[in-house]
Structure formats: C-alpha cells, structure tokens
Amino acid sequence: MKKVLVSAVAAALVAGPAAADLVFPDLSYRTGPYAANGIPFSDGYQDYMTLLNERDGGIGGEMIKVIECETGYNTEKGVECYEATKGEGALLYQPLSTGITYQLIPKATADGIPVHSMGYGRTSAKNGEVFHNIFNYPANYWDGASHAITQILNENEGDIADLKIALVYHNSAYGKEPIRTLEELSKKHGYELSLLPVDSPGQEQKSQWLQIRRERPDYVIMWGWGVMNQVAIQEAVNIRYPMDHFIGIWWSGSENDVLPAGEAADGYKALTFHNLGSDYPVYDDLKKYVVDAGKAAGAGDQLGTALYSRGMYAAMLATEAARTAQDMFDTKALTPAQMRDGMENLEMTEAKMAALGLPNFGPEFKVTCSNHGGDGLGAVAQWDAKAREWSLITDYFPADEEVLNPLITADSMAFAEENNITPGCM
C-alpha cells in the first residue's frame, strides 16, 4: 500500500513531457487580489495563440502549445511554475509580475531562455549588452514615469516648477521602479515630489488619501496593480480629487479598475503603449475562430478590454519574434536560443501589424542588440464613464531619453559588475 502511494505521489508530482511544439508557458494569475487584472491579460494571450493555431495552423506550420501555470502573483509559486515548465521546451517567459521577473532574470539567463517583460520588470534590462536574455520592449517603467511628467508639462504650458506631484505606489519592486526617474526629473523640472507607499495588496489606503486630501498635490501619479487600483480610484472619488489630474501607469488603466467607482471615475487618465478598444479586424477573427468555436480561455467575456488587448499584444509580439526566428534560421521548430535571436531582430512595422489585423495598434519599433527596450513611446488614454471606454487623447510621444539613458547605463552596469558580466553583443 505504502509503495503504491509513494509511486502515485511521485507520478503526480512530475508533469509528463510534451511533444515538440512551440511551447509558450503562460504564468498567469486567476486567483487572489490581482486576479481582476491577471485574467483578461491571460485570456488575451491565450486566445491569440489559439487563433493562430485554428486559423493558420500555428506559426509557419508549427503548432503552438500554451502551458498555463497559476502563480497567484506570488514569487514562490512563480519559481515553481518556471521549474515545472522549463523542461517542456519553453521558448519564452512572460510572467506579468515584476517580482517574478526579478526572480527569473538570473535563472533564465543561466538556462538560456528569453524573458519578455513587456512594460514591466527590470527597466535597465533595456541594455541588451548586459541583459542578453531579457527584453522589455516596447516601453518600460522609466519611460512611463517620463510620459506622465511630459503629459503634466503639456497640460501646464511647460512650467511645472511650483507644482506638487504625489506618487501613490504599490510598496514592492514594481511600485518603487519609477521613484528614481521621478526624482531625477524633479531636479530637471523643479516640481516637488511626495511618495506614498501602499502595502500589498492595497485594500487599505485611507491614510494615504487622507494625506493627499491634506496636502492637495496638483497631480497624483499611480503605480498600482490588482485590487489596489480600484481602491485608489474609489478613494480619490471619495475625497473629490479632480480625476483629470490623476494619472495611472498602464497597469492602472483597465476597465476593471475604473468601473467600480462608476460615473465619478470619469476623466481618469492612464498611460498606454498600444491602442485600445476592439475596433480591429483581428477581433472578427477572434470571434469567429476562437470565441464562437468555444475555444476561448477563461470565461471568454473579456474581449476588447484594455488588458485583454495588452495580453493579445504580448502574444502577437512573441509569435512575431518566433516567426522572425524561423526565417532567420530557416527552421520550423525553435530552440530557446533561436527564439532569443528572433526577439533581438524583431522589427514591428505598420505594414506587419496591418497584415495581422491590428492596423495602427502599436508604435513601430526595432529591437537591436544594444536596445532591448524599443523606442519607449507612450500615449495617454482617458476614461469616459458614460460610454464606458478608454480613448487615446494624445499621439505616441517619446520619453525623456536624456534623463533616462544615464540611469539605465548606471543601473545595468551595476548589475554587470555584481554578476561578472562583460557587456557586449553575443
């Protein structure tokens, strides 16, 4: 009996190996305080992969296999998911968590598997000469911080020297990322910055918003995620903070974040690095081949939401990189090393996106060995509570590279020194 039990346990603990497809693990979180944001992203990611399988027969004739693994936004489970899936020929990791990304940077580099932290993760990974396997195109947190300040500059005719700006942030590696940039920018533009950390998961923000009510900063910037976004927007409404002076990073700009506050959330702004809405040809295909065929991930009710679009965009960039790699090496099956090279030579053009059914969806950019972060273009979206939709109120505009580049060089060089990496192209 004991032997049977032990062998049953052993069999259950080891996941079975898979056939040679293009394997894209999806480290998702559909449970816990971050699920409201994790679900649409993961649905979009998986649905796009399903669409390619159903419509085109995979990428270049090779089927895609998505292995979903629940992390709950928890780094320990993230590590377990990484270890459980890497043996199955995983080509690329997109953990959708800055904490897990930090965890995976050394591990994935040692294992030679690329990581794409799209708009999150370690910002200095933009320096591809140090972070060979880590990519964060098309934009990163420091770009985002700079976008927010640029937007404020534009709203105030370029003079923000006597403004007070507050940063409400998730008290974790994620939320702390923009601080250094905002401090540098404050030296340049002269605004006064106050920092208000919110402990995870962020349901309790009374004291932070009391402080905002007392100090009345001219603008509030938010780096929030999960339940923290909804609570922050509700608290801002409660203290009657002017919503059009409240700017969230792209992770604080989904429908789930503003809907609970109802009409009062009207005018709230959030950054984005791709277009929003469901007015694209690809959605017709998604509906036809995935949703109507009953193959949608999750409940299939997230189509067209901001984070669904972002998950789909992440999947699109991943599969386009795989296609680039297939062309480069003239092969169908890919190794993680080939996938990495494909990502490093990825070029997104308008023609390419239009052919994929996503015309004018994201900015054009080109990844190079020394620049893993793209051009850092971003735009500002505003919430229309009556129409229940986001609309872009600006064009894509660049970040302040003059301030950011020295920061990126300094941080990546510090990492290179700590880990004995000689910077250079592979």
Partner: protein, 358 residues
C-alpha cells in the same frame, strides 16, 4: 511483527535514554539519513529541488525554530516572518560586505544576529503572555518588514528595494546564484536541517528543554522550583530565532535568490509556519518535519494532480486547492488535535501490539 521491543535490551543509561530506543525506529532513522544524504542527491533535478525539496527543508528548519518557542516554551509568536527577514537581510549584508567568507558561516552568523533580535523582541514575554504576547510579536513582524522596506542601507540602496544573492561557493561548488546544481543546493540545506534537528532534539530533552517545558506547563510553579523565567524565556527566544534566522537566510540566498521583504516575509509567512507547527504537533521535533511536509507538498501534489493529470483549468484548481488544504487542516485538527506527530505515535503504539491487541 516489524515493530518489536522484545530482545532489544538496554545495558547502559545512554542506551536507555537515546532518541530512538526501539531498534526498528533507529534503523529507519539511519536509513532515512542514508537515503537523504547519499541517494537523493544523485537523482534530484531542478524541478524537484526548487519546487519540493528546498521549500520543505527550509520550512522544516523554520518550523523547528518556532516549535521550540511555541511548542516547548509555550510562548506564542507571530513574528516568524519578520525574524526570517532578519536572517535574509543579515546574510545579504554579510554576503555583499565580506564576499571572501564562506557562505556557510554567513548563514550561521545571520542566525546569530536573528537570535539577538529575537531576544530583544522576546523581552515583553517576561511581563505578558498568551494572546497579549502574540500581539507584541505581531508588532515585531510589522516593524521588521517596515524597517527593511524603509531603510535603504539594508538593501544596499538598490532601485527596486529587492535584494538578490550573488554567487557564493562551498568548496568550489556554487550554492547561491543562478549557476547552482540541484544537488548542491539540496545538500547545503539538508546539512542545516539535519544539524538543526539534532541540536533542537538534544536541547529539548536536556536541562534547557525541561526548563522550557516547566515554564510552558506552569510558569509560577516553575519559578518556585528554581527555574529562572528570564533565562528560560529569553533562551527559548534566542534558540528559536536562531533557527528561524537560518531558515530565512537559506530561503533568500539558496531558494529564491531574490526577495522583496513585504511579499516574501509578510504576515502570511508567520501564519504558514505557525500552522505547520500546529498541524505537525506542538512540542515534537518530528511534528515540525511532518507539518512542513504537509503544507509544502500537499499544494504541489494537488496542483499537479488537478492541472497536470486531470487537465482542469488552473483557476479552478487553485481555488479547490485552497479549499482542500483548508478542509484537511480542520479535519486533522478535529480528528487529532495534537497533530501529525501524535497520529504517528498512535500508529506506532498499534504496531507494537499488532497482531495481538488486547
């Protein structure tokens, strides 16, 4: 049949008071040690090490530490997460400040630093007990997490507030950093667990342990018969924090490699380790191991069964996992309030009588 005392004669006091008086137990114990040290390292892979073995070994050390305080000395503590954070940040500061010193000693010194911090936060136990002490240690938990978040010196002023372990070796073999082999990290943690369990077992059955238990059972009576409550309580806090600090150090440096204090060492960690101690069995070293195994292995097992074997959606599996683990905890505690260790003891009693129970 298997489990017999007959014929196993003790001819000296040492033999009579050994940890495993029954020969079968002794053999099983030595067998387990041989398997753990000499056979498992040859078969272990990255997945087994990082998803199963390392968390089990490290939580077991933490549970042994907490068991000394709660199970043996009767002082309730909710500060485990904070004390693990002290161990983690102490190793980080030591690793980066003295890179030439062997990581083995860093981990031990980190344990020592945690012992000092633990004694400091143990001082209130001289005046308050029970729930009130739990609240005082809860303050330690929140204070320590806040401290490591707030003071940049602790994380060497890194932009993200994360600490990450650089590569360190033991006799030429890397045990921290990304280029580690599964067997190396496993053996490194196993050595610490074996050492901790041995020390804890021998402390708890000697004079020190008896003083702790006297304090636990009735502190006034203990004081009357000559147990110094100051020394007994503070020594329990020190020894307990020492082990918890080692667990925190290994958790950060060997297992995760990069941590963020709020997420890795939050209040949830304190509760998790406390549950391990309660489910495993208060005041039993074996209970700490069993409790850690239960709470580390069961979720992984359930996840792999539900998602890997049955192919259920991951969110359903994750919710079911919470429900099943929760239900099992309740069932276990109703069926056997003294934990897995007591279940094991009853099984042994039955085995000794089998096949002729009275």
């Amino acid at each position: 049949m298997l489990y017999r005392e007959a014929g196993d004669f003790k001819t000296s006091y040492e033999e009579d008071s050994q940890t495993f008086p029954i020969r079968f137990d002794r053999l099983a114990y030595h067998g387990a040690l041989v398997v753990a040290f000499a056979i498992v390292p040859f078969f272990i892979n990255d997945y087994w090490a990082n998803a199963v073995a390392l968390p089990f070994l490290i939580y077991a050390i933490a549970a042994i530490g907490l068991n000394i305080l709660v199970g043996f000395c009767g002082q309730v503590s909710l500060g485990t997460g904070g004390f693990m954070a002290v161990g983690a940040y102490a190793t980080y500061k030591l690793m980066t400040a003295f890179p030439e010193v062997n990581i083995f000693f860093h981990v031990l010194i980190a344990g020592g630093i945690t012992a000092l911090v633990g004694m400091l936060f143990g001082l209130p136990s001289l005046r308050i007990k029970g729930f009130y002490l739990a609240v005082a240690t809860l303050a330690a938990q929140f204070f320590l997490v806040w401290l490591f978040n707030r003071v940049p010196w602790f994380y060497n002023h890194s932009a993200s507030g994360q600490i990450s372990a650089p590569e360190r070796t033991v006799i030429g073999v890397p045990v921290t950093g990304p280029h580690t082999e599964a067997w190396a990290t496993y053996l490194f943690c196993l050595v610490f667990l074996a050492g901790s369990a041995l020390i804890a077992r021998n402390l708890t059955r000697g004079a020190t342990g008896r003083k702790w238990m006297a304090i636990r059972d009735m502190d006034i009576a203990a004081e009357i018969i000559g147990v110094n409550p100051l020394r007994a309580k503070l020594s329990a806090f020190a020894v307990s924090s020492f082990f918890i600090g080692i667990a925190g150090a290994l958790f950060f440096s060997v297992y995760l490699g990069a941590v963020e204090v709020g997420e890795a060492f939050g209040i949830n960690k304190s509760f998790l380790v406390l549950f391990m101690v309660i489910i495993g069995g208060l005041g039993r070293i074996f209970g700490s191991l069993a409790g850690a195994a239960f709470l580390v292995l069961l979720p992984v097992l359930l996840k792999n069964t539900l998602v890997g074997t049955l192919g259920w959606p991951t969110d359903l599996a994750a919710h079911l996992e919470i429900m099943i683990v929760g239900a099992l905890i309740v069932i276990f505690l109703v069926a056997e309030p003294h934990g897995l260790a007591q279940l094991w003891r009853i099984t042994k009693e039955k085995l000794r009588l089998w096949p002729f129970p009275h």
